[in-house]
Symmetry: C2
Subunit: 238 residues, 2 copies
């Protein structure tokens, strides 16, 4: 509460006027010169406050025209990606992973996903289920480029899931995730112990380290056993 830097106070003042609705989209913000006089400070200080708000998408700044409240409300949210083991533990259940299938091979010609992942190299193909108290709640198929992660070939995944292993050994720099739903096919249904056609949440995630492709994973979560949660807002104010 005490000792808030001046640039944060300026930012916070303007931010709350926008969030409260007092300032609407398109409304003009005082110029840097006017704010300098209002707060009795140097231009750099005002500029820092406005730059942060501009970076956050709340303001749009243009020369000569001045600074106005941004029109397009953001159409994106931050998606939390919980660690499955932690998520399960939080519900007082025991997490486990059971490896079902393991294979090392070349990518299949004609499979664009496999070819773009492994190129001329080999693929490690893993199938397994995630368990809560010993019961399957998710099935995953994973492809890993052995050119990108050679040392993973000697892992047996008896006690740790491939996802956890990768997270701890190969930090990714880029990722894309597609979230959808599907009915369980015969394979998934038998692994999860449910009827064919049962609703599943599907997650397909590709990860990169720099320009290099690391892994592609397809997961099917039993409906009701898992949720993804996304949030936007509340800013950084305490």
């Amino acid at each position: 509460m005490t000792a808030m830097p001046l640039h944060e106070r300026i930012r916070s003042d303007i931010e709350s006027r926008i969030l409260s609705g007092e300032l609407g989209p398109g409304d003009k913000i005082p110029s840097e010169l006017e704010l300098m006089e209002k707060y009795g400070c140097a231009r750099m200080t005002v500029s820092k406050a406005l730059s942060v708000l501009s970076g956050a998408g709340l303001l749009v700044r243009r020369k000569r025209a001045g600074t106005v409240v941004a029109h397009r409300r953001t159409e994106s949210m931050v998606l939390d990606i919980p660690d499955l083991a932690i998520e399960i533990a939080r519900r007082n259940r025991t997490y486990g992973y059971r490896l079902i299938e393991r294979q090392v091979r070349r990518p299949e010609k004609g499979d664009a996903d496999e070819l773009s992942l492994a190129g001329a190299g080999r693929l490690l193909c893993l199938g397994g289920v995630h368990l809560a108290d010993g019961c399957p709640f998710a099935y995953e198929e994973r492809l890993i480029s052995l050119a990108a992660v050679p040392q993973i070939e000697s892992e047996d995944f008896a006690s740790v899931s491939p996802g956890s292993w990768l997270l701890h050994h190969i930090p990714w720099t880029e990722a894309e995730q597609r979230i959808g739903a599907a009915g369980a096919d015969a394979d998934v249904a038998s692994h999860l112990g449910v009827a064919i056609g049962s609703a599943c949440l599907t997650v397909e995630r590709r990860t990169w380290r720099g320009a290099e492709r690391i892994t592609l994973v397809r997961q099917k979560f039993l409906a009701g056993q898992y949720e993804l949660i996304a949030r936007f807002g509340a800013s950084q104010a305490s």
Copy 2:
């Protein structure tokens, strides 16, 4: 390519050394003084570059200890929330919305969701389907607080969906979204024209404007008709 400001060049230099893996978590970045000398610039310029990277979570800065590459790779991604109408149009299909049910009432006692949304005020309760080329692909139930949005009571939603109307009239400042899967119940199945138990992607979203609750919507998308896409990485470099 030309005319990149110096602080962006510094930021980009350090960022690419981190993303390429040349600098790993915990590795020390040169101090501001050293970077000043390296780039032959004032300290403010270096500081700006490092502040941006620190704000993005790539660096951790501590006095006396210096600046190091952050340890925790982010466990969050940015989730794009496309406008359904735009998403449908992009696939060369015609978007439509059909209102099925409309009701104004008090929140039901014992329903925590309704009570926290409307308090002592009234609720507008809407049910409807989103259409692509006239075929239903999503069903939604929506509750809107009339205390927060009184002017919506006179809308008939013949040509515009409640979601679009709200987006254009009541910009939200905070939102929370839960994403899961479920089998269609009898109600949903009949509205979407599918068998009971068919897999659906479920989205439950709450939005606020400042401290005021605006709306709660529950949507069921037919499996395969809709995907949410989340991304992380690639920074802002072109």
